[in-house]
């Protein structure tokens, strides 16, 4: 096993696109590191650089203590699992697993033993003489894993290996992957655009945007203490509610609401006159009759989604949506999927406990916990107040 060190790694393609821009990252020996970010952020290119499938333009890559920057993929002692599995279609499962070992001249007896071990670990015994075409998506995924495991490499590289599975199977395989890593303890770099995978699998996750790492931390820290607007908006589902606010007369003002800064304690004084306010949907709570919290906003529910134990309510506020480059970049991947055009007003989301009352079309008043609000500088987009990770689980990501 071995750790990985990326020293100012950069990759510029011949067409001038700088896909990876000076990435510095240390992955500990045996760690499960997730590279996460929206489409086109450079995470797959970075993984391919580690694999040696792309030449780096600048910087160095170390696996263990060995500089592998100019070493061929086959000599890096890595195994990779691809998004489409990349199984050899004309070979049986057994031959697919054995191929890499054969090419390396591993003795026959050793190959047989390793195939048997991988097959037992992944429950492939029944499938050994089938070809990939005769396998389901989940089975192919297991064979791809088997091929990687049989190699006994020092590092596993996984490029969105679950994205071709259906939602139900993905959850199961995700758990299996976590179990497998705990069992094998091999350093793993896992690329995904799915933050649920990032949050559930990664011991640490590196959030990437435009070829740069924005923040590397534990999933808890990424959620509770994002260092900038991009991480805050990217991590969490539904996304953090964002709105431009200004400070006047000791109050934080936006969309006709006025929230007294005194509630923030000494932190309130650190805020500049203009900020971007961020509130996670789960940090709203409905104001009961007779309550009068210091920080509260109200709106009319235009969409209500009942998820069983909880309900998501959507309500517009009288402010323009935040349209920074980061938000545009995050939304770029989702834009094609969207049905309706972007609204002129910001649409806030709140995650509330499911009740019997129908909220659609009604006006609701929501309390906001000032301690859990995030503030970002409008120009640098950096987080203005340090938030410590709360000792409570991250709500289920919808």
């Amino acid at each position: 096993m071995a750790g990985i060190e990326l020293q100012t790694v950069a990759k510029t393609f011949p067409n001038g696109v700088r896909a990876v821009d000076g990435v510095e990252l240390t992955i500990e020996d045996g760690e499960f590191m997730v590279l996460v970010g929206p489409s086109g952020c450079g995470k797959t290119t970075l993984l391919r650089c580690i694999a040696g499938l792309e030449e780096v333009t600048d910087g160095a890559i170390l696996i263990g203590d060995r500089d592998v920057t100019d070493v061929n993929p086959k000599d890096r002692d890595i195994a990779m699992v691809f998004q489409n599995y990349a199984l050899y279609p004309h070979m049986t499962v057994r031959r697919n697993i054995a191929f890499g070992l054969k090419v390396r001249g591993t003795p026959r007896a050793e190959i047989a033993a390793r195939i048997a071990e991988a097959a037992r670990l992944l429950g492939l015994e029944e499938l050994m003489d089938r070809r990939p075409l005769a396998l389901s998506g989940g089975q192919r995924q297991r064979v791809a894993m088997g091929r990687a495991i049989a190699r006994r490499p020092r590092v596993y590289l996984m490029d969105e290996p679950l994205s071709n599975l259906d939602a139900k199977l993905r959850v199961r395989v995700r758990a299996d992957l976590a179990r497998l890593h705990a069992q094998l303890g091999v350093t793993t770099v896992y690329v995904t655009h799915d933050q649920v995978e990032a949050m559930t699998l990664g011991q640490r996750a590196a959030v990437m945007n435009e070829g740069k790492i924005q923040q590397v931390d534990t999933p808890q820290s990424l959620y509770w203490s994002p260092v900038n607007l991009f991480v805050a908006a990217f991590i969490g589902s539904p996304s953090m509610n964002l709105v431009e606010a200004h400070i006047a007369d000791g109050c934080l003002r936006f969309a006709g609401f006025s929230l007294p800064l005194a509630e923030l304690g000494p932190d309130g004084a650190k805020l500049p006159p203009k900020v971007i306010l961020g509130i996670r949907p789960e940090h709203f709570s409905e104001v009961e009759a007779g309550q009068s919290p210091a920080w509260s906003i109200e709106g009319e529910v235009t969409v209500e989604e009942n998820l069983g134990a909880e309900v998501l309510v959507f309500f517009p506020i009288n402010a323009a949506p935040v349209e920074t480059d980061e938000i545009v970049s995050i939304r770029a991947g989702e834009e094609e999927e969207a049905l309706l055009a972007q609204e002129a007003r910001a649409l806030f989301t709140a995650r509330l406990p499911s009740g019997t009352r129908q909220l659609l079309g009604t006006k609701i008043r929501l309390a906001v916990d000032p301690e859990r609000c995030h503030f970002f500088a409008p120009v640098t987009r950096e987080s203005l107040l340090t938030r410590t990770a709360a000792d409570e689980p991250i709500p289920a990501l919808a």
């Binding site: 086959k74 890595i78 990779m80 191929f99 091929r147």
Partner: protein, 297 residues
Amino acid sequence: MTQGAVGVDAVPTRRRRRKRVRPARLATQAILYAFVLAFAAIFVAPIAWGFFNSLRELHQGVSGPVIPRPAHWDNYRYAWSGLFSFSHYLWNTVVLTFIATVPAVLTSAFAGYAFARMRARGRNTLFILMLGTTFIPFSIVFIPLFWVVVNLGMYSTRWPWLIWGVSGSAFLIFLFRQFYASFPVELDDAAAIDGCGHLRTFLHIYLPNSAGPLAVAFVLLGTGWWGEYIYAALLLPDRLLPLGVKVATGYNDPTAQIVLIPATLAGALLFTLPAVLAFLVLQKQLTRGIVTTGLKG
């Protein structure tokens, strides 16, 4: 009662709607079929003509009723062993076809892989230039090629066929390039991580998955070389001649100095048989190959 019958009885009665065929549609289909049949007849007629005439009396020529009576099946035996050793020239044809086809298909496949997968400066320009050679008419290269072969001392040898074979075929390179370009790049990546270089990736991953285009290539090029006439007639001595040339010129009555047309036709049909068989054997792969390589218009 059989299970099937129970099943049928159990099905709720529902009036089956018979599909009504509109007269206009029927007329269109009839015209279409008539056109197809007429078109097929154009291709089948010469073969049928050749077959019937191959059964006439050896010195009769092609006159008389369409279907000769009696049929002289002995002409086929005569074509095989009457005037020259059919099997000797058949073997010559096999050798020439093999040395010109097998290396050409393999070289073209590898070149197609290179054009599809290997990164190199000027790759696309080279590919276009290579494709451009297919537009040079045969009549332009024919004489210079003859001159080159003679000056290289390859006249009266099979070397030119082997050299043409090793050089590959621009059309086949194009065909393989199109096919390999559709392979997922991840296969190359997986092979690279498994320890394969380009040659091993081609031989172990690409080539075994190329049954369709390989069949297309072997049939197209193989049938071409099987029936090749001009170069063979021009460059080879009689002992090395392929059957196509020998059949066309060899069935002359030694005494009457006339061409034995029925024997010639019988020999020609026998000569065609292996190519037809190859087509029938590879038909399935050929169809798949035409679909996967995008050859179909």
